[in-house]
């Protein structure tokens, strides 16, 4: 979240799209009810289904799954066409006036530089025009046809209300009503928040859906303000922490990136990431990349990391390709993976295309499951009748189950969607032989280290030299790990302006990432978390909910990254002169007397930079401003464009009916064999979409009796028209089939799933909750991901669970 849960109470309008907050985040949803109660806020829900969120909304608009960019592109067109934008904000704080390279082009759905064989782009033309001074060339009059404003206006002018309605199946008047409500928040004293979740991320163009939402928010001046923002609602209690700590395969902690295989040179690696400012006077905070990187390497390798060996840069893996979930299972399926450590993860149920995942696991020599529960993955080799019809005699994979603790059986920090690191304490002893994850991993590590020590091996250095200073080496404590990620001075850290002044003494905990150095004098496991555990102690245990400004910022409650800031980009809540756009919701302001920024939040800005210096709010971007034009950061293009899901009920993309290359996301990675596993609408005419229910949490709570009582048995939801067409009555058992397999479940026939008019025809949706499987105390069911396609978002490779093709019949 750019903002935080409590801040939602400060909004005037909530847009829930690509998510279902009331259903999936019922506790956080309370802040929507607060905003409705105390600010008379309105709630809009745009969703293929009339959800539990829609049940308490002020306005609901249906949409075909997978068509969100068309909808939001239409909103952009509406805002620009009706001049409902925050003029000063977009002109000053975004790239509106920046000129785009002349070589950049967009032709019938495809951007310049496309290679259809590789399904990827050469992005060299996707950039701004750079002047001789090294800065981006701008046109403050916004008249130049190559300026971002003009190009964006032309790009989205194609998204007319009629076309949006035809692609999305949203009635035109409903679409325009939503546009009108959204447009009202362009005023300085109005804010809209967007709450989204997996309904946007789980598409082959999911990242671009989120980007389009962010562009709407920027046009309205709703980023960086109280009650505004782009708010990703994370599903797992600590999934925010997972990405923050760099557990994605191409990341290092704190959103630093692993080098690619061509990046063998350390200084080139750093230089590429430590971006220099692209406009005069801008901060470009990633210039400090080297400090973060070196401090991480010092945390990992201690004295072994030296300036001479480039802080062990050579020990880092260099990626030939991303090793995301889909890639790993593709490799496993191709027999290139021998063993798999599966920690807190149930891929047989959670990954797409069960038949492929199951077949891949069967090719492993060994599979290690670290989990509190007996998961479907841990039992993938067992025959469970119709629900898992495998022949154990043909599966040679050796499976080790290492029972671990669950969150309530251990101490530690969790990072919430609000970016708040909050400490929690063990509530119960784990059952039986269960051990904490860090104990299990420590055991594996110590054994491996001892084997490498004895036997050498191809590349023992990174294992033998890994820092392991735990008082109990086989049981690292959460406190030790937290201190490590927060950071420590290895030598006295001095003030750069006054080298005689010692800021932090050797051996002390750092106060924050501003104290990190690239000379090896600091160690920090995750620069973003720096300051969570200082010499004052563990700030994550703080529970002071005092709220002197009444905005719910509670700066003394636990610790938020970065630097305890609660609302990111909060400088943008003030006009260029440093005055809050909305004084009633003041986050920060410039105080000329003290020469500092201050207020209800920690300034996300250089605290002593006066407004007249012209530093802009988006300090992480080298431009200092927010980008409508994504330059080379996205896989499929600088402006989001609507593409159909890989499996779509339409034969072509109505935006580009004659260009087959632009039917689905041209940059989505599809493995060769998987092309044959995609269905066509003649056999699979209905849109399938999967989701979660309030009563359950992923595949866990079917093991809990109370949850099983509340939602005992697998079902799918269909509309009344489709039910009538297929002779299906409420409560009948139905078989839902995709090209990849089938499931059988109870049919819930409901008005809440509507037939949509799309591109001149009727499109039906089949909705499928995911929670069932063949383990646990709920009624056994089929794994819903039997049906889903093996393709992901072009940028993140998050699987396309939200839009695919199925057929349905009464059993």
């Amino acid at each position: 979240m750019t903002n935080h849960w409590v801040d939602i109470k400060n909004t005037d309008l909530v847009l829930i799209m690509g998510g279902n907050a009331a259903e999936a985040h019922p506790c956080g949803f309370k802040w929507v009810t607060e905003a409705k109660a105390h600010r008379k806020a309105r709630l809009i829900v745009v969703d293929p289904r009339f959800t539990r969120s829609a049940a308490v909304s002020d306005y609901y608009a249906p949409i075909r799954a997978g068509s969100d960019i068309a909808f939001l592109g239409g909103v952009i067109n509406y805002l620009l066409g009706n001049d409902k934008i925050h003029h000063e904000y977009v002109k000053t704080y975004t790239d509106f006036s920046f000129l785009v390279k002349d070589e950049f082009a967009f032709d019938d759905g495809i951007y310049s530089g496309y290679n259809p064989e590789k399904r990827s782009y050469d992005k060299s033309s996707w950039g701004y025009q750079i002047g001789a001074d090294g800065y981006v060339i701008t046109d403050p009059t916004l008249q130049n046809p190559r300026c971002v404003y003009q190009m964006m206006k032309a790009h989205y002018a194609r998204y007319t209300p009629d076309l949006v309605s035809s692609i999305c199946g949203t009635p035109k008047e409903a679409f325009l009503k939503v546009c009108e409500m959204i447009a009202g928040t362009a005023a300085s004293d109005k804010a809209m928040t967007i709450m989204y979740a997996l309904g946007w991320t789980q598409h082959s163009q999911g990242s671009q859906m989120i980007r389009t939402g962010a562009m709407v928010q920027l046009l309205l001046g709703n980023i960086g303000v109280a009650g505004g923002g782009m708010n990703a609602l994370r599903g797992h209690s600590n999934i925010q922490g997972l990405t923050d700590l760099g557990l994605l395969s191409d990341l290092l902690p704190g959103y630093m990136t692993l080098p690619g295989e061509k990046e063998q040179d350390y200084s080139a690696y750093i230089e590429k990431r430590a971006s220099k400012p692209l406009r005069p006077g801008q901060m470009s905070y990633w210039q400090n990349y080297g400090k973060f990187h070196v401090s991480t390497m010092k945390a990992w390798y201690g004295d072994a990391a030296t300036a001479e060996n480039n802080w062990c840069f050579d020990w880092l893996p260099k990626l030939d390709k991303p090793y995301d979930l889909l890639q790993v299972f593709e490799d496993m399926n191709n027999g290139a993976v021998n063993g798999y450590l599966c920690q807190g993860f149930n891929p047989l149920a959670s990954a797409p295309c069960k038949v492929k995942v199951s077949g891949s696991l069967a090719k492993l020599k060994y599979l290690v499951i670290i989990d509190p529960l007996a998961t479907e993955t841990s039992e993938f080799w067992q025959n469970h009748g119709e629900y898992n019809d495998v022949d154990p005699a043909k599966i040679q994979t050796e499976v080790f189950r290492l029972p671990s603790t669950c969150f309530a059986e251990e101490d530690g920090s969790l990072v919430s969607s609000s970016r708040v690191l909050q400490w929690h304490w063990k509530a119960a002893e784990p059952p039986g032989d269960a051990r904490g994850d860090q104990e299990i991993l420590a055991g594996i590590f110590l054994k491996l280290r001892s084997l490498y020590g004895k036997e050498g091996g191809a590349f023992p250095d990174p294992i033998l030299n890994l820092t392991w200073k735990h008082r109990q080496p086989d049981a690292p404590s959460p406190e030790e790990l937290a201190k490590e990620y927060s950071g420590q001075a290895l030598k006295d850290v001095t003030d750069p302006k006054d080298p005689a002044k010692v800021l932090v003494k050797r051996g002390e905990q750092l106060n924050g990432f501003a104290e990190l150095r690239d000379d090896g004098s600091t160690a920090c496991g995750c620069w973003l978390f720096s300051g969570a555990w200082t010499e004052k102690g563990n700030l994550m245990v703080r529970r002071d909910n005092s709220d002197p400004y009444g905005l719910g910022q509670t700066l003394n409650w636990a610790f938020a990254w970065p630097a305890n800031r609660r609302i990111l980009y909060n400088r943008a809540s003030c006009d260029p002169g440093g005055k809050p756009y909305d004084p009633t919701r003041k986050l920060i302001a410039w105080d000329a007397d003290t020469g500092k920024w201050g207020g209800s939040d920690v300034p996300d800005f250089k605290a002593d930079s006066p407004p007249e210096d012209g530093m802009n709010p988006f300090i992480m971007n080298p431009e200092g401003v927010a980008r409508f034009f994504a330059v080379d950061k996205m896989a499929e293009g600088p402006f989001p464009e609507h593409y159909e899901p890989l499996e779509s009920p339409l034969a072509n993309n109505p935006m580009h009916p004659k260009n087959d290359q632009a039917r689905a996301n041209p940059a989505a990675r599809v493995f060769k064999e998987d092309w044959n596993t995609f269905g066509k609408p003649d056999q699979f005419p209905y849109v399938g979409t999967t989701y979660r229910l309030t009563e359950h949490f992923h595949f866990w709570t079917k093991h809990a009796r109370l949850n099983a009582i509340l939602q005992p048995e697998q079902f799918v939801e269909i509309g009344e028209d489709l039910a009538k067409e297929k002779g299906i009555r409420n409560g009948d058992h139905v078989r839902v089939r995709s090209k990849r397999g089938f499931i059988i479940a109870v049919a819930v026939v409901t008005k809440r799933v509507r037939t949509l008019d799309v591109d001149g025809r009727k499109v039906h949706t089949v909705g499928m909750p995911i929670h069932w499987g063949f383990m646990g105390v709920a009624k056994n069911g089929y794994i819903t991901n039997t049906l889903t396609p093996f393709v992901g978002d072009a940028n993140t490779q998050t699987p396309e669970f939200k839009a695919f093709l199925v057929n349905i019949e009464k059993v």
Binding site: A22, T33, A55, V56, Y60, T694, P712, G731, R752
Partner: protein, 291 residues
């Protein structure tokens, strides 16, 4: 069993007066369920099961979200989901938490023939004391809301207690404590009516011109009330009765039939006695002995 802090105001099948020496007197309480804020998450069902140590069967899906399907001895509250189109083309999903309404004039208590099996506390809560329940099922037709359920395990009647054990020690009912959106609130009945007024004003401002409070006077008002978006059409909410009242059969039983029957029983006893003193004990015939 009543607590010291829960004075009993009325007791089933009891003619002796209730205790009334305590000076302060309890404040009538109420639970207010605001259906316009309810997201149907069923956390209240879980809280109820956990607090009261109840575990219903793992059931089946019959084509609706409602689970468990109905109230039972193990499920004292359930969510009832209704899909309605009050305005053409505008779908609404009305989700009503169903359970005992704690009537000010409780039909169950009136119908109950077993002394003390059903009580009403001075704060308005109607409670079943199962140890006195004889399993006669009279409370079922006595209830205008179809709430009490007889256990197959012990043949006794069960229903929501409004967490009288929590309220008696100044805690809110478990469902109120857990509700994540504040759709269920609890306090004095006066305060709850006041809170409801604010909610109704908000709903009217959002276009629900018939929003209203459900506190049916046919049962003397209730200590569980609803805020309804469509106050004029409570039947939209899974057949919430519009004008509930106690079944006339209960009135008949208590009003005319019961004294007549008591008289009948008395006459029968008297006739038996008279027969005994005039005719003596019954002589058993020889033939009957050999049967």
């Amino acid at each position: 069993m009543a607590l010291q802090s829960l004075d009993i105001k009325a007791r089933s099948a009891t003619t002796t007066p209730s205790p009334n020496v305590r000076a302060a007197g309890a404040i009538p309480v109420a639970k207010l369920i605001d259906i316009s804020k309810c997201i149907g998450c069923k956390a209240c069902q879980v809280a109820c099961m956990e607090w009261n140590d109840l575990r219903d069967d793992v059931g089946t899906n019959v084509g609706v979200y409602d689970n468990p399907r109905d109230l039972s001895d193990q499920s004292w509250t359930v969510m009832r989901f209704s899909e309605v189109e009050v305005e053409q083309g505008r779908l609404e999903w009305l989700i009503r938490k169903d359970g005992c309404m704690h009537c000010a004039d409780p039909g169950c208590l009136k119908a109950c023939p077993s002394p003390g099996a059903i009580v009403q506390y001075s704060n308005g809560i109607v409670d079943f004391h199962e140890e006195y329940c004889i399993g006669c099922c009279y409370c079922i037709p006595g209830c205008p809301f179809n709430i009490p359920r007889i256990s197959k395990k012990d043949d006794k009647a069960y229903k929501c207690t409004l967490c009288s054990d929590r309220v008696g020690v100044r805690l809110e009912p478990a469902c109120v404590k857990i509700c994540p959106t504040g759709a269920i609130v609890f306090g004095s009945k006066v305060d709850m009516i006041h809170h409801a007024e604010g909610r109704i004003t908000d709903l009217k401002e959002r276009g629900y011109s018939n929003a209203g409070l459900y506190d049916p006077q046919g049962v003397g008002g209730t200590h569980v009330m609803y805020v309804l978006q469509h106050g004029d059409k409570p039947e939209l909410y899974a057949n919430l009765p519009k004008d509930p009242s106690i079944s006339p059969l209960v009135g008949l039983w208590k009003g005319v039939t019961k004294p007549l029957m008591s008289l009948g029983i008395g006459l029968a006893v008297f006739a038996g006695f008279f027969h005994f003193v005039t005719a003596g004990p019954k002589e058993v015939e020889e033939e009957e002995k050999t049967d």
